[in-house]
Symmetry: C2
Subunit: 187 residues, 2 copies
């Protein structure tokens, strides 16, 4: 691996983290390299930079494309494929969230739904099903929320993030206003 020290550290870190993220070392390194590179790279350049086999790079790029985390670019008068990551870190975040949801939560949600349809054959099964219902309910709430916020424009999303826990104050304020307009029983 021949890279400027700063880039090398970054790339190596992503390689190591890869395993905790369900991607392998090479895939992590390729992503990191593309992320910090000033321009698109072709497979051969990645091979040189990382010192792994051509075929490994090919497979890694394929996986990253399946994740929508790298983009294929073409350079005029060059028939090799060039790759980049999206510039916009917010877009990267959205993509990551979307793909992880697709792979990590959707299958579970669908299994839970299926199991909840079945009729329990014993007291233990009845209890198990109740627990599954709790899990299903929580996951569904979370994914509904996610479906909502992912539609927000980045600017609004950023505003929301910046607000942090202060949203609760807003909530309180809202309750008060609503309470004034339409007083609750026992209020």
């Amino acid at each position: 691996m021949k890279l400027p020290p700063l880039v090398q550290s970054f790339v190596l870190h992503f390689g190591e983290m890869g395993s905790r993220w369900g991607i392998n070392r090479t895939v992590g390194q390729i992503y990191a390299l593309l992320y910090v590179s000033p321009g698109p790279l072709n497979a051969e350049q990645i091979v040189d930079a990382l010192g792994v086999s051509r075929s490994n790079v090919s497979m890694g790029l394929k996986e990253l494309q399946a994740w929508n985390l790298v983009l294929l670019k073409h350079i005029p008068d060059d028939r090799r494929d060039y790759f980049t990551t999206p510039d916009d870190v917010w877009l990267i975040l959205r993509t990551l969230a979307e793909e992880r949801k697709k792979r990590e939560v959707d299958p579970t949600l669908s299994v839970l739904r299926e199991l909840l349809m079945q009729t329990p054959g014993s007291e233990d099964e009845r209890h198990a099903q109740a627990r599954m219902a709790e899990m299903h309910g929580l996951i569904e709430r979370l994914t509904n929320w996610y479906e909502d916020v992912k539609r927000l424009e980045t600017e609004r999303l950023a505003a929301l993030l910046a607000l942090g826990a202060k949203v609760t104050r807003l909530l309180e304020a809202k309750d008060k206003v609503v309470g004034l307009v339409r007083p609750r029983k026992g209020g």
Copy 2:
């Protein structure tokens, strides 16, 4: 593995998903089993239910305890260890978020901080560092937001979730009110 069909399906699914979640099959299965069980189980019962070795269960339980996802319980006049998962699914969610952050984002954040301290030695390094700064900024915003919301009581958190994208309407309303009280330049 000898389990009621409903439970078995659930346990097998968690086993398979395990790999996508950075835990292994047995660990996933143990967790799933404890999650749906009506009461605490000891290691031997888990061995019988899952059909894996005693030592494997021991290691799996150890890992789950490291994740704070299972609790050790003692039953009077029985010197074996019994295990459960927390009842409250919200608590489980919080624990999961906390532990994943600890393992998956904190190390990256700290590497990024370190690399951002260094002086770039070339134009490419300068660019790489700028990209790292973008990533660092985003992650920091997210973790700050997370630190904020994790302090909310569950009830408030649920309210926030239920609100979903409607928070933006609240934001707009707030802007308007604030605008009335303290009109902006050019408003």
